[in-house]
Subunit: 151 residues, 2 copies
DNA sequence: TTAATTGCAAACATTTTGCAGGTTC
DNA sequence: GAACCTGCAAAATGTTTGCAATTAA
């Protein structure tokens, strides 16, 4: 029910905009089809957090024409290729973060507002030594807050 | 498809076991119905991470008789009363952590194994000053790893 | 006996899938 | 023209809800 909205903090990882998007995709080993370019343009224009539905609606509103299946396919593809980061904050839906630089999140459960926190401000201390059998995939830090006043 | 399994690290928050569960519920302002006691016994017997489905299956296997609706109702109730903590790690389903003491998580995306990390080992440094309008609800730190070797 | 709780089944929302038609190199 | 993509609609989850029957204080 909450509307998670992006609060840009740092520029998009790839720094890709407009025509450059095609290059970004190619250099990531992704065939730059019309739909993928459309989606990438929308996503990487600025750092933001979007659900699949929000993305689809946004592209629609911008006059784009991409099917739901392709949106899901493409989001998964971008995540696998490291262009996008999944953010699991709301059990109802997955959010996709077009800022892939290392950073953390501040989430207001009441407003649904999701904002970035730089690792300069908040850091994780004392990472455990990982067994040789595994490798670090990522560190997800979410600071959850809510508006003051009890139920 | 992964099976998230618990790796106990610290004893259950309430330290409740057997008959004491009834007291735990009462002192939390929860009417101790047969089903809730059943669920609480199962959950708080030890620190663990369970999905709703796993909980239901576990109770079933133990000879208990609780409906799916009641499982979901009760999990939500326990979370609202602070007896349980939601863990959002897998977009497919919510996990519930019966260890409500402050701690972090280590998640192996390949095996689905989820284990606790003490705040003595890994700590978050430099919490931002929060505006007066909000209060801290919690800090979720997940260290994601996967087995070595590429796709 | 009045309010709260349970269980069933149906309803929901998000995400995935099968497959026919298109596109690309 | 062979492999890959797209879009539609249907299917597959996990979770919630409506409501009648049951239980509890």
């Amino acid at each position: 029910m909450n509307d998670a909205e992006a609060t840009a903090a740092t520029p998009p990882a790839g720094g890709a905009r407009d025509g450059t998007v095609r290059e970004l995709l190619k250099s990531s080993g992704i065939a730059p089809t019309a739909q993928r370019v459309e989606i990438a343009r929308f996503l990487f224009h600025r750092a933001q957090h979007l659900s699949a539905e929000q993305l689809l609606a946004g592209i629609d509103a911008a006059g784009g024409r991409v099917s739901k299946a392709t949106v899901y396919n493409t989001l998964g593809l971008f995540v696998r290729h490291g262009l996008l980061r999944e953010v699991l904050i709301d059990p109802e839906r997955v959010f996709y973060d077009s800022n892939t630089a290392r950073h953390h999140h501040l989430y207001n459960a009441d407003t649904g507002e999701l904002s970035d926190i730089s690792t300069d401000d908040v850091a994780v201390q004392g990472l455990p030594a990982l067994p040789d059998s595994v490798e670090l995939e990522g560190i997800d830090l979410v600071i959850r807050v809510r508006n003051r006043q009890r139920d």
